[in-house]
Subunit: 244 residues, 2 copies
């Protein structure tokens, strides 16, 4: 058990502020209530009154809303180090559902635990609220993408954003990353049909920009791709060092 064995969340927050030993200890203690969930079975349903949040430590999750006509819109994906359902702590009911995309490991965080931790270490509170603000900025950028980018640029932007997020916890680089999402997931996230997602991916591959195949995303020309997607990572607020 060496000191480098930190959780992904710890790793992420450390990119924002340098945490003291005490703060690190409090943070690690939030991880004590360990839970496992299997792929495909919803953890939280929309409309449910949820009294706890989770910190994802391994695996991928998506949060989505279902509509009356059966279509669904994926709002965001969660990767290791991300919070799940932080918002529903304050709102009376969860406004969306969470589905594990693969088998996952998560730590359950009770509202009381969180408030206690906040009271003990204000700097940690700031760091966690930073992460929450960043998540919100990503939803906003997602909104912009769906509203104002065509399918190709939307996909390119999405793959780049995911890469940056994963880089923050050491799971991705400018070369690429492993990604368990299906084309159906991409379709539901990007507001496209699965058929069109397939065509878009082919287009991007044949343009020599990026390949997504067999669970792996490979960037072929990172610079040209960021131009193509108009990707400006400023909204992620993770300045330079990680990917630059």
């Amino acid at each position: 058990m060496t000191s480098v064995e930190h959780s992904p969340l710890t790793r992420k927050l450390s990119a924002f502020v340098a945490l003291s030993e005490v703060e690190l200890a409090v943070l690690e203690r939030l991880h004590q209530r360990r839970r496992s969930f299997v792929a495909g079975r919803d953890m939280v349903h929309q409309g449910q009154t949820a009294r706890a949040a989770y910190i994802l430590s391994a695996g991928w999750v998506c949060s989505y809303k279902l509509q009356a006509d059966g279509t669904r819109q994926i709002v965001d994906f969660q990767v290791p180090g991300d919070f799940l359902g932080l918002r529903s702590v304050l709102l009376r009911t969860s406004d969306h559902s969470f589905e594990p995309i693969v088998d996952i490991e998560a730590a359950e965080v009770l509202t009381s635990d969180l408030l206690e931790a906040f009271a003990q270490t204000p700097r940690l509170a700031t760091a966690i609220l930073w992460a929450a603000s960043r998540d919100e900025a990503m939803v906003v950028e997602h909104l912009v993408g769906i509203g104002r980018r065509d399918a190709d640029a939307r996909m390119a932007h999405f793959l780049l954003e995911l890469g940056s997020r994963l880089a923050l916890v050491g799971m991705g680089s400018k070369e690429g990353y492993d990604c368990p999402l299906t084309q159906y997931h991409l379709a539901d996230a990007l507001g496209l049909s699965a058929v069109h997602v397939n065509r878009v991916l082919r287009q991007l591959r044949e343009s020599g920009l990026v390949t997504f195949r067999d669970g792996h995303v490979a960037f072929h020309d990172y610079g040209r791709l960021t131009d193509f997607a108009d990707f400006d990572p400023e909204y992620l607020d993770q300045t330079g060092p990680l990917l630059a």
Copy 2:
């Protein structure tokens, strides 16, 4: 100066929790730094480092992101009682711009003021975070609308949501409300062209559902409209009494 002369924000938060005299006083004191802004001139530019937030007390504002190709996406509108730029207090830079749609009145809130108020009255802090969570839930619903609703339903849903929000501060009802937005605003918010917005509005009008004309939204058949738009106001977390 009667006791009913509360600010719109006070009115909104009171729908969530009953605030004590002390809490009301602290809240009103947040409004001391009064500012005016004229229509059309941006208050905050994206990329700017903003150290303050605002509470909107009169008028309408929109928050938007501009893209390299010149198109813009309006993320949200702010009406009296709403916060502006609360998120940029924590993030290093504001990730979007704010434009007053009409001449407005707002109170400037420094980060220090806010933290002080939070420390004095935890219940007020909860109420403000509730409002922030609710704003985020609206952005999520907006995302769903753009991703998965066709233009007609998207417009209908949008007009209904605005109505609910305005009702919360006494500026709207099931009959309708005054609305200074142009069809260009609607287009930029809903991810449509202005031309198509016009056609959609005509369609809704001729169906006898809702009319938006001369700065006024009139609901003709509220029940049928909510069905048509698949509008479930639960995500607004403002249970029944206001509109029911």
